[in-house]
């Protein structure tokens, strides 16, 4: 599937994603895992570029790496004493969960392999990625777009209300 020149980049990115994701979920120091999360998300952005989703890659970097990760790091700083190394960061479900997730992965991968025939499309994606997305957002996806904006507003207000110190 992977084109020749792209192949090597894909494998590098995949390696980075899987390793950093594993580190994110296993590291004892939560601050370090946050940093690996950023790395992982960067690599996912690279995958997006490989898939000709340049705008999405840019959004990924801006929103996830730029905003969400910073937010997470802030939260970690604010609740700093939890980042100490002494505390066990995984709970008692770990062993069972590990096997369950492994089984899940196996099932999924086998399923992907078992599906013999895929209806591959012969056409290419529209060339002007950003232009098309902008048009779609303002035409076909108008309503979801507006709904999402309202959702953002609600989330913002909700976060402020929740996090505000009660003066009384």
């Amino acid at each position: 599937m992977v084109e020749a020149g792209v192949g090597i980049i894909f494998w590098i990115l995949t390696f980075v994603i899987i390793v950093s994701a594993l580190l994110v979920v296993t590291l004892k120091n939560i601050f370090h895992s946050a940093l690996f999360l950023i790395l992982c998300l960067f690599a996912v952005a690279g995958i997006f570029i490989l898939l000709h989703a340049e705008f999405l890659a840019a959004a990924q970097v801006l929103i996830y790496v730029g905003a969400v990760s910073i937010l997470i790091i802030f939260a970690i700083m604010l609740t700093s004493n939890m980042a100490s190394k002494k505390i066990i960061q995984t709970n008692q479900n770990a062993l069972v969960a590990f096997f369950a997730c492994l089984m899940f992965l196996v099932v999924t991968l086998v399923l992907i392999n078992k599906t013999g025939v895929w209806n591959y499309s012969t056409r290419n994606l529209p060339a002007e990625n950003i232009l098309t997305i902008g048009k779609l957002l303002m035409t076909d996806f108008m309503l979801p777009f507006e709904v999402v904006s309202v959702l953002m507003l609600a989330a913002m207000i909700g976060a402020i209300v929740l996090a505000r110190e009660d003066k009384a």
Binding site: V25, A75, Q89, N91, L109, L136, A154, A155
Partner: protein, 99 residues
């Protein structure tokens, strides 16, 4: 294409493992982000290889990113609140809805 899907499956499983095992609420949130990303990779992959007359898959991915951002905002606000009320953010301590 199967490699992309496989990558997404691996990423999803790792995220799932994190969600189940992390004791720290922030850790759970981070693992959730991983799962979102796995889903996004799937969307974009299918958009590229199978249903590529429009950019529906990418648009969905964008919406997911936005919703994830909102979710992270509220989630972290809740984390702060938890921290203030329990002086800790371990899920073990927050299991009052039992028995």
């Amino acid at each position: 294409m199967l490699y992309y899907l496989g990558l997404a499956a691996v990423l999803f499983s790792i995220g799932l493992f994190g969600v189940i095992t992390r004791r720290n609420v922030i850790g759970i949130l981070m693992s959730l982000e991983l799962m979102f990303n796995a889903a996004n990779i799937n969307f974009v992959t299918f958009n590229k290889f199978i249903l590529n007359d429009g950019l529906t898959g990418q648009l969905f991915a964008i919406f997911i990113v936005v919703v994830a951002a909102a979710e992270a905002t509220v989630g972290l606000a809740i984390v702060l609140l938890l921290y203030r009320n329990w002086r800790g953010i371990n899920t073990d301590n927050v299991s009052i809805m039992k028995w």
